[in-house]
């Protein structure tokens, strides 16, 4: 058997990983082959050198410190544990401060759907004075007419005190004969 076929087993033998059933065969070859003995010695030396590779203690200490710092930032301090709740409370407070006055100043403005585009265009400059729901009054004298088709949708316009914010609400009207 050539030496190359022993290499794999010699590599295992050098590290003590060869199954017991193969040890005698490899040792017999090593006794008669100087090159393979040299190979086994080199493999053992490499194994020893692997174990001697240094590890700086400063690196270990840095990791230790970094891990504990990361854990401390995450949640262990009382402030850390309450941080999400505090953030939520702050967000709610901010939302209340920003939106409460506008919501309070909402004015309802109803216009006929046919005038929707005009109302939208005019809303930027429109005063916040409520407009009367003209559409309903316009059809009052037809209220008792039988089987009349449903009227056009009613456009309700909410004008806030911010000229850039206008809210439109389309409302389906009941059939005129009801």
């Amino acid at each position: 058997m050539s030496c190359s076929k022993f290499e794999t087993d010699i590599a295992l033998y050098a590290g003590g990983d060869l199954p017991p059933g193969s040890i005698a065969r490899v040792e017999a070859h090593l006794c008669e082959c100087a090159d393979c003995r040299a190979l086994a010695d080199e493999l053992r030396t490499a194994q020893v050198l692997l174990g001697e590779l240094p590890l700086e203690e400063a690196m270990v200490a840095q990791v230790h410190h970094r891990v504990l710092a990361e854990i401390g930032r995450a949640d262990l301090s009382p402030r850390g544990a309450l941080a999400p709740l505090l953030a939520l409370a702050a967000a709610l407070l901010l939302a209340a401060v920003l939106f409460w006055p506008r919501h309070h100043a909402l004015k309802e403005v109803a216009v006929a759907s046919g005038a929707a585009s005009h109302a939208a265009a005019a809303s930027h400059a429109a005063p916040t004075v409520p407009l009367a729901p003209r559409a309903r009054h316009h059809h009052d004298h037809h209220r008792r007419a039988p089987a009349a088709p449903p009227g056009p949708p009613l456009l309700v316009q909410f004008v806030t005190d911010d000229p850039n914010i206008v809210i439109y609400w389309l409302v389906d009207q009941k059939p005129q004969g009801d």
């Binding site: 080199e42 692997l50 990791v63």
Partner: protein, 177 residues
């Protein structure tokens, strides 16, 4: 609550104790697998944060080492995969052959440097198997369980890795002489 939520008092002290016992091993494996101190520290940090996160769920009787080794190998694998796009292990420049030195200590240090560089040339699975077996001294069966392989596969990887490492160093030594 955060991902690191704790329930049992005293767990931090127990965690610190385990970390102190295992941090050298975790960092050493990470350093041998990644061959880069900064990456190895990042990996070790990630491993221990995962340990902390799962501390209450781990079976203490079975020991933390197998779990730590497994996570270390996985984290290093992820880091190496991300790094491969920038500086692949195969792209590490060929090292210069060491010069003969009159002092045996310095010569030994040069031999260790050759081994370190040779280790970085190995494939990921071979390197992991070799590091766990020859650096950490785990048995073939323990290595197999950590890597999720059979013992025969691990033996094959270890044998191949040892021969490659020996060939790499022998080639450089021949070039020197």
């Amino acid at each position: 609550m955060t991902a690191y939520a704790r329930e049992k008092p005293g767990e931090l002290a127990a965690f610190e104790r385990i970390m102190s016992q295992c941090e050298r091993r975790v960092l050493r494996v990470a350093l041998r697998l990644l061959n880069n101190p900064q990456d190895a520290q990042d990996a070790a940090q990630e491993v221990f944060l995962r340990l902390y996160k799962n501390f209450g769920n781990l079976n203490e009787e079975r020991g933390y080492e197998p779990w730590l080794y497994r996570v270390t190998v996985n984290v290093c694998h992820d880091i190496a995969r991300g790094r491969r796009h920038s500086v692949g292990l195969e792209e590490v420049p060929e090292p210069q052959a060491p010069q003969p030195d009159a002092y045996s200590g310095a010569e030994r240090a040069q031999q260790r440097e050759l081994i370190r560089r040779g280790l970085s040339r190995l494939g990921g699975k071979e390197r992991a198997a070799l590091v766990l077996r020859d650096v950490e001294g785990l048995s073939t069966g323990e290595v197999a369980r950590i890597l999720g392989s059979s013992e025969n596969t691990v033996r094959s990887q270890i044998s191949t890795a040892r021969l490659k490492l020996r060939d790499f160093t022998a080639r450089l030594v021949r070039r020197r002489s």
